[in-house]
């Protein structure tokens, strides 16, 4: 078909069409019918209408190209009816206003549905291709423009709604169903209508309300009460949204409440006298703390505020605790206090702060801060363990033991100077093992496993060596007695523990003179041991041994005395003498004088244990003193344990010594770290070396930068490192 032909035909069709619509008034007449029907629908008078006829008329108008007339007619008619409705609504008095508005809205919706039914064909064909607003949407828009936005309704509607909400906030009962219908209408008209005509103002009024109310509350309530009130208000608003507002309003209105009631008064609440956060923490007010946490988490900076106050309070109380002179007297009590404090806050964080990780971190960093304020914390923690493992765990179930050990490990984790702890722990463990005082081997080993997982193999290898020595010694002794059984006869029983040098805390050992029968026995053991182990050297640690002696006193009282090796040496002298002077004892035994004094003090000056008598009868031991066997010694026990007067805590010089040893031990570790780092980096500047070394060693101790510098210099002297010739801050590794 060619194009001119096509044109011709098109022309003909148009001409033909014009002829068909003979009645020029056809469109007007049809529209009159439809217009009448619309009026009847609005007047609740539709039962007389024929749906089929109306549908067909609307169809015909569109079909015959009168769609535009139909559409504009609809707009006009509907506008008129809505203006009528608006007048009725305006006339409604007082409370009836909302009800009338709701009634008319329902009427309009019903009418709109019916009108859309009639005009369905237009809605389906004419409207999309002419990009007009569909009938339903058109009806909503017209309602909005002619009713909701009419000058006499718009502000009255808003005022009424806000007034009702205000009434409900002050405790009055309102018609929530009606409220929901009206709000729903605003939402149906489009989210912008809801927001502009209601929500915006609602939020402003609410902000004013809560600003004033929170001001009242904060003047007359304590912190806990205030938080309760704020929580209730917040829940009320959330409930209001669910009952009759758009769900999207929830975050907006809760933001208003949060800002006015919480964010604006945050600091004042936290620091409130006698009821603020610190008081809640002191008094373990889990419920109030939980409420504060849940409310503050909703506002920016809320949780950091709580956390900061908690941290500074914790640091302050912790600092007092670790520097309290009273507490320092009893290491076990000291550590128990730390553990109690930790338990208290763990519980608070668990119950009130929903196990918030950031709070746990704050707690940990606070503990780390104040535990290390006291340089004796490592020692005390080790003493605590010592106490527990000596006797504290008797009759305690295995799980409880684990719990206690775990808690100790937690404190251990906070220590910066873990190597100092290790030193003390080794000393205390050595004493426990040698004196046979440890209660539970399992508990000991369990703790060592924990230390190992925490700090690695290196940390515990020596501790494990100590356990091995104990075991080997048992076997050795069995071997010894099996070999010499016949020869030994009824000489005293000797128990030797062979300790590997290096595994045990070293003590400067000055061997004392043992009684003759003992030293003979010792020689036998030495030859047995060296006979089975070649290339070894044995030296006697007489300062660490113990002895059980049978003694018969003047009136025939028999006792078994449990004493130290030194004490044994002294007492054995009295088998052959009644009176001995201090000088004589010192010469005979060659016990170091400080040890001897303590030894004599414990034998002569402790009430109830004084197996010796001294002249003059003073508390202190003098060079000129004389000693006798106390014939009148009496005790209701057969076995008497004579303790040595030892300070459980270290004395000041001992402390210094331990400290020094720790410092010495650190040197090779620092050097090793420097060499490891330089080996991989080859060239590094001073600050970075310090940083890396500190990082590598921090699991064991906090390296002192000055000490690191000294170690670097020592390494330079020994040609491990050199300074860069052009940049003096750079170090170079020399392979």
């Amino acid at each position: 078909m060619n194009s001119s032909n096509q044109k011709k035909r098109n022309f003909q069709i148009e001409a033909f069409k014009h002829k068909v619509v003979v009645d020029p008034k056809y469109a007007d007449k049809t529209w009159k019918i439809l217009e009448h029907a619309i009026t009847e629908i609005y007047n609740h008078n539709a039962s007389g209408l024929s749906f089929e006829e109306l549908y067909r008329n609307a169809y015909n108008m569109v079909l015959h190209k009168f769609g535009e007339k139909l559409y504009s007619g609809l707009v006009g008619t509907m506008t008129l009816h809505l203006q009528e409705m608006a007048k009725t609504i305006e006339a409604a008095q007082g409370n009836l206003f909302l009800e009338e508005l709701n009634r008319k809205w329902n009427d309009h919706n019903k009418a709109l549905q019916m009108i859309r039914d009639i005009l369905m064909y237009m809605d389906r064909t004419f409207i999309p291709s002419n990009r007009k607003t569909p009938v339903h949407e058109l009806g909503l828009n017209l309602w909005r423009d002619n009713v909701i936005h009419s000058s006499k309704i718009q502000t009255r509607l808003l005022d009424t709604l806000l007034e009702l909400i205000q009434k409900e906030r002050t405790g009055e009962i309102i018609n929530r169903g009606l409220m929901r219908n009206i709000i729903k209408m605003l939402m149906d008209l489009g989210s912008s209508v809801y927001q502009e005509d209601f929500e915006k103002h609602f939020l402003e009024v609410s902000a004013d309300f809560y600003r004033a109310e929170s001001q009242d509350f904060i003047e007359c309530c304590d912190c806990g009460d205030y938080l309760k009130k704020a929580e209730r208000r917040l829940n009320e608003e959330i409930e209001r949204v669910s009952l009759y507002l758009d769900s999207k309003s929830e975050t907006k209105i809760t933001n208003v409440v949060e800002k006015e009631m919480i964010a604006s008064h945050m600091l004042r609440l936290v620091h409130m006298d006698n009821s603020g956060l610190v008081n809640m923490l002191i008094d373990d007010k889990y419920e109030d703390l939980g409420r504060m946490y849940n409310l503050f988490r909703r506002v920016p900076n809320g949780l950091p505020t709580i956390r900061d106050v908690m941290t500074s309070h914790l640091r302050e109380t912790g600092k007092q605790l670790v520097t309290d002179a009273e507490k320092l007297k009893d290491p076990v009590e000291f550590v128990q206090c730390l553990l109690n404090e930790k338990d208290k806050y763990d519980k608070i964080i668990n119950l009130a702060f929903s196990n918030d990780k950031t709070f746990q971190n704050a707690l940990n960093s606070s503990f780390e801060y104040f535990i290390n304020l006291n340089p004796r914390s490592p020692e005390f923690i080790s003493l605590f363990v010592d106490e527990k493992l000596r006797k504290g765990l008797k009759g305690v179930s295995e799980e409880d033991v684990e719990t206690i050990l775990d808690k100790v490990m937690m404190l251990f984790r906070y220590l910066q100077e873990k190597d100092v702890f290790e030193k003390y722990y080794k000393q205390h463990l050595a004493k426990r093992l040698l004196s046979g005082k440890t209660v539970s081997d399992d508990a000991e080993r369990s703790l060592i496993v924990k230390l190992k997982t925490e700090c690695g193999y290196q940390f515990t290898s020596k501790l494990e060596g100590m356990f091995t020595d104990m075991k080997t010694s048992q076997d050795t002794m069995q071997g010894f007695y099996a070999a010499y059984a016949a020869e030994l006869g009824d000489s005293p029983t000797l128990v030797v523990q062979v300790l590997t040098t290096g595994s045990w805390p070293t003590q400067p050992s000055i061997t004392c003179n043992l009684p003759a029968e003992m030293s003979a026995l010792c020689e036998k053991f030495r030859s047995y041991y060296l006979g089975t182990h070649t290339g070894r050297r044995l030296s006697w640690q007489t300062n660490m041994g113990t002895a059980d002696l049978k003694a018969i006193f003047g009136k025939g009282q028999k006792h078994e005395l449990n004493v130290s090796t030194y004490q044994m040496c002294v007492l054995m002298l009295f088998n052959s003498a009644d009176r001995l002077s201090y000088k004589e004892i010192e010469q005979a035994t060659e016990i170091p004088s400080s040890d001897l004094r303590r030894c004599l003090q414990s034998l002569a000056c402790v009430k109830g244990k004084n197996v010796l008598r001294k002249e003059p009868m003073s508390k202190d031991i003098g060079e000129e003193d004389a000693f006798f066997v106390n014939d009148k010694f009496a005790s209701k026990f057969y076995k008497v344990k004579i303790g040595t007067v030892v300070a459980q805590k270290e004395s000041e010089p001992e402390k210094q010594e331990t400290r020094q040893r720790v410092e010495e031990d650190r040197k090779p570790q620092i050097e090793a770290a420097i060499v490891r780092i330089m080996k991989s980096r080859r060239v590094l500047d001073h600050n970075n070396i310090i940083a890396e070394v500190t990082k590598q060693l921090q699991s064991r101790f906090l390296a002192n930068p000055g000490e690191i510098k000294k170690r670097i210099e020592s390494l330079i002297e020994r040609d491990f490192l050199e300074r860069d010739s052009s940049d003096r801050r750079l170090y170079r590794y020399l392979a």
Partner: protein, 441 residues
């Protein structure tokens, strides 16, 4: 619907029909029947024996009533399809007619429903199926739009520039891309109404806040309302542009990296699972083939393949490519309709050619058309000369072949709205293939 008695009597144009309210309920609320029996209109009050008069043709009413009763459409041969559609539109049940007319798409059950002869001169460029069963056909500078009833709508054009590609955003909107006219800023890309052919807006390309004229090539659409097009600007602004379908605003641009080709791409395919765009530039537009996946988030090309440097024989030359997300592979085809595959999970290696598909060897027609590929719900389609092959299964076995002798080679085809449209190159004819509704038992 508030009907007390189920029985309903109609008098349609003088003929009495008895039916039930349940049957009528199948028409839905947005139909004449739905409105008529809504309680608002209260047509049953008391006199249930009253017949409802409808002033329409009873013969077509009978066909439509049967459709409501059975869900199937049967039109006696002496009746007009067009008139049926008009009646259905009157009753508001045209959608029912459409969905009864053909069944859910299955490449192995297709039958030729109709061939439509167009009147545009010039070679066919592209045919694109619409989402509701319509299609648009590009010839030269014109795009003709057909609705699902295959009624032709006013044609659309972009300043009468040569059209490169077209695509549907929704049943009412079509995007066409066209060449630019030298120096005038014409051409580019525009969005058009499918029913009236009016242009709603043009898609602009800006570089450094300056609007540039450009030639738009291949198109692709993503489900999150993005539109992609290959763009060739005059001052070396080659690359892939990204626009928002709703606002028409340009939101991104991927510049062509050196040694690669994007701006003249023949094919774009949005891969939603990978969040990537497949871009293929192929022979003969370029001497070499370039296939790559673009990631717009970090402007990277996570996967790419090219035959630069490889010995070129016709058998190895890729003529079309399509990504198959389910098997993480790319399928390519050479000019003998051999299929080849590449793995998207591995850095591009060589094409694994499948010898199974060697079907065309030696039988080349006088005027060959290069093969094209399409993928639809696990079925792979490939057009070659005058037929379309359907491949199924994991190994892509040839299962069906669609062929018509009339119209010459197939230059393009497209699947959508449960229909397959094939455009022929020698005559201005396109075929519509449909799946018949399922058998009665």
């Amino acid at each position: 619907m508030g009907i007390q008695k189920d029985r309903v009597r109609f008098n349609v144009g003088g003929k009495i029909f008895d039916t039930s309210a349940t049957t009528l309920a199948n028409a839905g609320r947005n139909s004449l029947f739905g409105a008529m029996f809504d309680e608002n209109w209260d047509l049953q009050s008391g006199h249930s024996t009253t017949e409802h008069f409808i002033d329409r043709n009873p013969d077509y009413f009978a066909v439509l009533l049967d459709l409501l009763r059975t869900g199937e459409l049967y039109l006696p041969s002496n009746m007009s399809e067009k008139q049926l559609y008009r009646e259905a539109l009157f009753y508001g049940i045209l959608d029912h007619v459409r969905s009864a007319k053909w069944g859910p798409f299955d490449g192995n059950r297709l039958r030729l429903a109709r061939s439509v002869t167009g009147r545009a001169p010039g070679d066919g460029t592209a045919i694109r199926a619409g989402p509701d069963g319509g299609c648009c056909v590009a010839h030269g500078s014109m795009v003709h739009v057909y609705d699902w009833m295959l009624e032709v709508h006013p044609p659309i054009n972009l300043d009468y520039q040569r059209v490169n590609d077209a695509g549907w955003i929704d049943p009412e909107s079509i995007v066409i891309s066209a060449c630019e006219r030298f120096g005038t800023g014409d051409g580019g890309m525009g969005l058009f109404s499918a029913s009236t052919g009016e242009r709603r807006y043009k898609f602009h390309v800006s570089h450094e806040n300056q609007v540039k004229s450009y030639t738009a090539g291949a198109l692709s659409f993503s489900p999150d309302y993005k539109l992609f097009s290959s763009c060739k600007g005059r001052s070396n602004e080659y690359g892939i542009g990204v626009w928002d379908q709703v606002t028409g605003k340009q939101i991104d641009f991927f510049y062509e990296p050196p040694g690669w080709s994007l701006g003249e791409a023949d094919k774009l395919q949005w891969l939603h699972g990978n969040n990537c765009l497949l871009v293929a530039t192929l022979f003969p537009r370029k001497d070499n083939c370039y296939i790559g996946l673009l990631d717009f988030r970090d402007k990277s090309m996570p996967w790419s393949w090219s035959d630069v440097g490889a010995p070129i024989t016709d058998e190895k030359r890729v003529r079309d490519a399509i990504a198959m997300e389910e098997s993480s592979s790319v399928c390519v085809v050479n000019e003998y309709e051999d299929l080849g595959f590449m793995d998207l999970r591995r850095a591009a290696g060589s094409v694994r050619w499948s010898s199974r598909s060697r079907l065309m060897k030696g039988k080349m027609p006088d005027e060959p058309c290069y093969p094209k590929l399409a993928l639809h719900e696990g079925q792979l389609f490939s057009s070659m000369n005058d037929s379309i092959s359907v491949f199924c299964g994991q190994d892509w076995v040839l299962t069906s072949r669609l062929r018509r002798t009339y119209g010459g080679s197939i230059c393009d085809f497209s699947i959508g709205g449960d229909r397959l449209f094939a455009l022929h190159s020698e005559e201005n004819v396109f075929d519509i293939w449909e799946t018949p509704s399922p058998p009665i038992i």
